[in-house]
């Protein structure tokens, strides 16, 4: 099958890749670009482990085609930290022990960043509903929500 040439931007860096028309953005990231920070939990948009942003919009990359990245700005977990400094959200996830196995963590961090960009001062309920698309089986979400609320508070102070 003929591959399509795609020019895109990932985490602010220009990237080109070839993919088949049916390849998902998730598979392109993981298998073509070796960006394995984005995880696959279900492949059907139900678990959020593959959360990325496309032009600032939070999506499941398993539901986006690789060719749709043409001309777009893609944001993945690898682009959250700046140089060698963790993002506040990443730091708070560590401090609150908001991860156990960690497989859902990249998706949750991408989603939390999207949440706090949309709504810097969410209530606990708003945070829980915004993150309802990111499944975590280990933690029961308690420490995740605490990390999110703490991140929001710190980031409001930084802004």
């Amino acid at each position: 099958m003929t591959k399509t040439h795609v020019t895109t931007s990932i985490n602010g860096e220009p990237v080109e890749f070839l993919c088949e028309p049916g390849d998902t953005l998730l598979n392109v990231l993981r298998n073509e670009l070796q960006m394995t920070g984005t995880k696959e939990g279900c492949g059907s948009g139900d678990c959020g482990a593959c959360s990325v942003t496309v032009d600032g919009r939070l999506v499941c990359s398993c539901l986006v085609l690789g060719v749709e990245a043409q001309g777009a700005e893609i944001g993945t977990v690898e682009g959250i930290e700046s140089k060698d400094k963790l993002h506040t959200i990443q730091q708070k996830f560590l401090e609150h022990a908001a991860l156990q196995c960690g497989i859902c963590t990249p998706g949750l961090i991408v989603s939390t960043k999207a949440l706090l960009e949309e709504n810097p001062n969410p209530t606990e309920e708003e945070a829980r509903y915004y993150l309802a698309g990111n499944l975590c089986r280990c933690t029961g979400y308690d420490k995740i929500i605490r990390a999110v609320m703490d991140s929001a508070e710190v980031m409001r102070g930084e802004a």
Partner: protein, 750 residues
């Protein structure tokens, strides 16, 4: 460990050393390794729940240019029925082989039959349709009650019930029966003034780890294999793979990737031996990843059960007799957790007369695997529901009722040993004193409480601590870290050595770098591997003292080790660990501590959970509005990750109680094999989960540790179902308490 002691490092909420890689996406999980020349493997699965395989024709697939290898059951060297330690529980080699690639029968929808390796994942997937299989379709047996009937279709012609006085001469679906008893059950019920007897049901559920099973395998010309995989026990993956493929253990290196959840479900093998066959045949590295659909249909869920429990008590609340019949579905092959179910069902209670029988029954569902405290949630659900009903009948508060009958130090268990120091009474007292238990309930709300027990295990662990010339160290351990255990290892080593935790780097080594380590299961890691870490660290301390003694020309008995510093008791001198390590070359060479242990004395952990729910009586929807998990940790090494275990167990148990179940159609095909329809709790489904860490030290661990990982999933089933029952005024006996079932209960009660 007899009295409370002050700790310098233990109990701190340090940042886990592997956390940085996990919040940045750098951590490598089962699906994250790619190798040069790697190809992709896919599995052809049965479209029927029960069928005989008449013929498999792989010729067209093998001839396809994209296909580089095909594997079927015939590719296993001869395997025979043989029991060996291949994971959390003893495994039958023949069953394991037939589960990985079916021989002459498929026993569940999704049962693996053949595998293909091709240049790309999509080419492998497409080529599966080239394999032609002729089936004789058989009627499926989908429920343990049906499977136990004499007229039921039989899954295995050679299955003759074990554990009866006389082995029957006709085959059946009952693989085995067991019985546990103490006292005189008839006499016990004769003394009872109030009796409750009921049937209970729990559905097939899945562990629901977010990371699907995945592996990448390679083998060289010398037959030396490398297996990278997502597993709770890489040493047991090695054992299983070697047995199945008739290879020497030393010919297989298994690397445990970071693991994206397991909960018992990653204690056996599905893909690894198949990938190795494909790699051998193709001469290429092979990667295999299950889809979510495959994980649901063809990995190892937790058993569905049907139970009957009968409990009798005197009017003053003294329980006189407890009786249970526990029927466990094993899936297509024998091996349900009937044993631990029978052993745990009544263990929270000190009651003279008990009689428990268990049945291990095959049905046309996937072969079950361990799921967090395997067997205990199902069994103790039935027991705790009956106890709560009995407490109501007696008009006694459920905590007081349990306190009156609670197991404690010296209680004779039904399965053998007497309990040593345990913390059930302390958990019940903590529940009684909690603000949650005293809080008022709102309209349409109900409260439920339940206790839970799990044994915990010890077992074999191997640890090496290498000290570096600058006084930092590396803790090399072999227990896949499923929930933050490396942070605990770091703290226990730091406490023993007197060196800051951040100076000690814990790593999980592959099978070539350590002696055997038992699988991460049975809540053993912080206890048993922790003991090995402490012993290895003590070995390092002894060597550091000897080196200091050599410098000072005194005996090592004259050297004291205090907070990471050697002190010459015969003089004034001191040497830090870093100074001794720096000079190690001149005092005898490298400093490295080792421990190879088979840990005994795992302390059981008891828990008590309190749950408040609110029920929408028009729809039957249940919301958990408040939840408190109280559990004995012995000693919490890293309190955050102990709380995390309590919260995670509670959350999985809440899902089990309220929503989760395998739904099958009449052909035995699962209809909800995805996270949209098999609904595990979402962030929006749960409240904060309050925790209380009770610490009754385990006398057999240097720091008092008890395993904490599993007990927390035991109480929620009954705590939640009791809360629902109390909210609607109807006793729920079948799980899950999903909206349709709750609504029907409300309507039936009229």
């Amino acid at each position: 460990m007899s009295e409370a002691r002050e700790f310098k490092y233990i109990g701190q909420r340090t940042i886990r050393p592997d956390g940085y890689d996990k919040v940045t996406g750098r951590a490598n999980y089962g699906a994250d390794l790619s190798l040069p020349g790697m190809i992709w493997g896919k599995i052809l699965r049965s479209p029927y729940a029960h069928a005989r395989i008449l013929n498999i024709d792989t010729s067209k697939a093998e001839a396809h240019p994209d296909v580089m290898a095909v594997a079927t059951y015939q590719d296993f060297p001869h395997v025979s029925s043989e029991t060996f330690q291949g994971g959390e529980a003893p495994t039958d080699l023949l069953d394991l082989a037939k589960n990985i690639l079916a021989d002459d029968k498929v026993l569940y929808h999704g049962h693996a039959i053949a595998a293909i390796a091709a240049r790309t994942e999509s080419a492998a997937e497409a080529a599966l349709s080239l394999i032609k299989i002729d089936y004789e379709v058989l009627p499926p047996v989908m429920d343990v009650a049906d499977a136990m009937k004499p007229e039921s279709p039989v899954l295995h012609d050679d299955m003759f019930t074990q554990g009866l006085e006389e082995t029957p001469d006709t085959p059946s679906n009952i693989a085995s029966r067991m019985e546990l008893k103490k006292g005189d059950i008839e006499a016990g019920f004769a003394q009872a003034e109030v009796v409750v007897e009921r049937d209970y049901y729990t559905p097939t559920v899945h562990q629901g780890y977010i990371e699907p099973h995945a592996t990448t395998v390679s083998i060289d010309e010398d037959g030396q294999a490398m297996v990278w995989c997502s597993t709770q026990g890489h040493f047991d993956v090695r054992a299983s793979t070697a047995k199945l493929l008739n290879m020497e253990l030393g010919k297989i290196k298994v690397v445990a990737a970071e693991i994206g959840g397991g909960f018992g479900g990653k204690t056996t093998v599905y893909l690894e031996p198949v990938a190795l066959i494909l790699s051998k045949k193709s001469g290429r590295p092979v990667k295999m990843i299950m889809t979510r659909d495959e994980v649901f249909r063809a990995s190892g869920p937790g058993s569905a059960t049907r139970s009957r429990v009968k409990i009798g008590a005197k009017k003053d609340g003294t329980i006189t007799a407890m009786q249970a019949k526990l029927c466990f579905e094993a899936g297509g092959f024998k091996g349900s957790p009937m044993g631990p179910g029978c052993m745990t069902v009544f263990t929270p209670y000190d009651v003279e007369n008990m009689y428990i029988e268990g049945y291990d029954v095959v049905v046309n569902k996937p072969k079950v695997a361990a799921y967090r405290a395997p067997g205990a949630p199902q069994a103790e659900f039935a027991a705790e529901m009956a106890l709560n009903e009995l407490a109501d009948k007696l008009g006694i508060d459920p905590i007081e009722f349990r306190l009156k009958n609670a197991a404690r130090k010296g209680t004779q268990t039904v399965y053998g040993p007497k309990l040593k120091a345990v913390g059930l009474v302390e958990c019940l007292e903590a529940a009684k004193n909690s603000p949650h238990y005293k809080a008022a309930l709102g309209e349409n709300q109900g409260r439920g409480l339940a206790a839970g027990f799990w044994f915990n295990i010890g077992g074999q662990s191997s640890v090496i601590i290498n000290m570096n010339p600058d006084g930092t160290g590396t803790i090399i351990e072999g227990s896949p870290d499923i929930g933050g255990s490396r942070a605990s290892m770091q703290l226990m080593a730091a406490e023993t050595l007197g060196i800051p935790a951040s100076n000690l780097r814990p790593v999980v080594a592959d099978t070539e770098h350590l002696a055997y380590n038992q699988t991460t299961g049975g809540s053993r890691t912080t206890f048993a591997t922790g003991m090995a870490v402490i012993e290895a660290a003590q070995d390092v301390v002894n060597q550091l003292k000897e080196r200091a003694a050599a410098v000072w020309n005194v005996t090592s008995e004259q050297v004291e080790w205090v907070d990471g510093v050697a002190i010459n008791t015969a003089g004034e001198e001191k040497l830090t660990a870093a100074e001794i390590c720096k000079g190690a070359e001149r005092t005898g060479g490298q400093i490295s501590g080792t421990a190879n242990i088979n840990a005994r004395g795992a302390g059981p952990s008891f828990a008590v959970h309190i749950c408040d729910v609110e029920v929408d009586k028009e729809t039957g929807k249940v919301d958990v509005v408040r939840y408190t998990a109280i559990q004995d940790a012995g000693k919490a090494i890293h309190p955050s990750y102990v709380e995390g275990q309590y919260q995670g167990g509670a959350s999985q148990g809440i899902g089990w109680a309220l929503n989760e179940e395998y739904i099958y159609n009449e052909d035995g095909i699962m209809e909800n094999a995805g996270f949209l329809d098999y609904r595990i709790p979402l962030a929006s489904d749960l409240p904060m989960i309050d925790t209380v860490i009770v610490e009754v030290p385990n006398p057999f661990h240097p720091f008092g540790v008890r395993g904490v990982g599993e007990t927390g999933i035991v109480p929620p089933l009954a705590a939640v179902a009791t809360a629902v029952s109390n909210a609607i005024g109807v006793r729920m006996t079948d799980l899950p308490c999903s909206p349709p079932r709750v609504l029907k209960a409300i309507q039936d009660a009229g």
